[in-house]
Symmetry: C2
Subunit: 235 residues, 2 copies
């Protein structure tokens, strides 16, 4: 029988779920766990220790699942509907993992979950299952199967938030190399927003945000055709 | 000794705090409670019943403090820092209200609070203190004293959210009469944003949102000088 978490270690009735977006090379994915011996897929989650602030708990969960530290994470919504979790699913998932839990167990109570989202370069992560899961893997954002509980809703709300705040959070996400072209930036936007953007409009908008510094053109044999390079100001 | 809430009635360790903005006639205020026999001011709060969804709990708290039902309320942030509440303040406030609480009491535990905000017409509310408070009153947004715990932070985050989403939430807030002038709308924006806006820019922006329907000018003696009237589309 594997180790099961207990209510002694964590704050009761509150969980954290992390929608971890991974970007690389025009692809946007999310990290999902597959509950042991079931078809159930879920976003990575965990609980909050008495000694932790919320953001610290979310960082720990992210690190446990990806090996990454100091990642920009932000809460985006609290999910607290009375019936958001089907406890039969929880019970079966635990049983499949070798843990029999009774109706009074900590995990069978009502949980309110604080959703955090992060956006990382997925090639830098080492996905690692938790004790209740067989696998921890990247799924293309366009091919996400149905998830347990309200986790499909979590993903769609997180994606909406990611898209909405992209201009503001861009620097924090740290997804581009130190210097990049306008084309690199546009590819990132088009992938995350899942739509084509007009080059001139995009360039005008990005320059108007005041977060880009244009560097000298690199002098090559075909200098005039070389694209301008940019970096984020204040970096 | 007055009635004290117990952990039997509510979910443990989770509270809701409501930043209730009141608008009327170019004034923006917030509703604050004054803890019994102290100088401590706080935004109205409460707890979540096992039978309630989060939004239902927030609606109940809002109704208890203002008498208003069916108000547009939205969560904006979760406040969960380990040391966000000073329990000595809580103990003294309870004692001032005639309730002696020991270190193991439900209220002395760590609480994570979900912040909700609402914007109402303050002339329509009937502010009502809770069992821990002497008064429940409107304070001008520009003259808010220091609040207990992290409640000053809650107010500033709520105000930031209110301003940021004003365009999108405007119709839901239901603060204008059925028909109104562009001037009425601009006054509302200027009050909430606390800055003067250029009339032509404001008008262009509002019309571009696609939420306004322009009505015929009311024919009066000075028809040409009468302002256009608008209403929200889809209402």
């Amino acid at each position: 029988m594997s180790t099961l978490i207990s209510s002694v270690d964590y704050l009761p009735g509150i969980s954290i779920d992390c929608v971890i977006f991974g970007f690389h090379d025009n692809q946007l994915k999310i990290l999902l766990l597959n509950f042991k011996s079931t078809d159930w897929l879920a976003v990575p989650g965990g609980f909050i220790k008495e000694s932790e602030n919320l953001e610290e708990a979310a960082q720990r969960i992210l690190e446990e699942r990806t090996g990454l530290t100091n990642i920009y994470l932000e809460q985006f919504h609290v999910f607290g509907d009375r019936n958001r979790r089907d406890n039969e699913v929880m019970k079966s998932a635990m049983a499949a993992g070798g843990n029999i839990i009774g109706p009074d167990h900590f995990l069978m109570r009502r949980f309110i979950s604080i959703g955090f989202y992060a956006l990382i370069d997925f090639t830098k992560a080492t996905p690692t299952p938790d004790i209740h899961s067989d696998t921890c893997e990247w799924y293309d954002i366009k091919e996400i199967p149905t998830l347990i509980y309200d986790h499909s809703l979590m993903v769609s709300k997180a994606l909406e938030t990611l898209r909405f705040f992209l201009d503001e959070k861009l620097i924090g996400f740290n997804l581009l190399p130190e210097v990049f072209t306008m084309n690199d930036l546009q590819n990132l936007y088009e992938t995350i927003l899942d739509k084509k953007l007009l080059r001139t409009n995009f360039q005008r908008k990005m320059l108007s945000l005041g977060i880009l510094e244009r560097l000298d053109k690199k002098m090559t044999g075909a200098a005039n055709k070389a694209p301008y390079l940019y970096r984020f100001t204040g970096k």
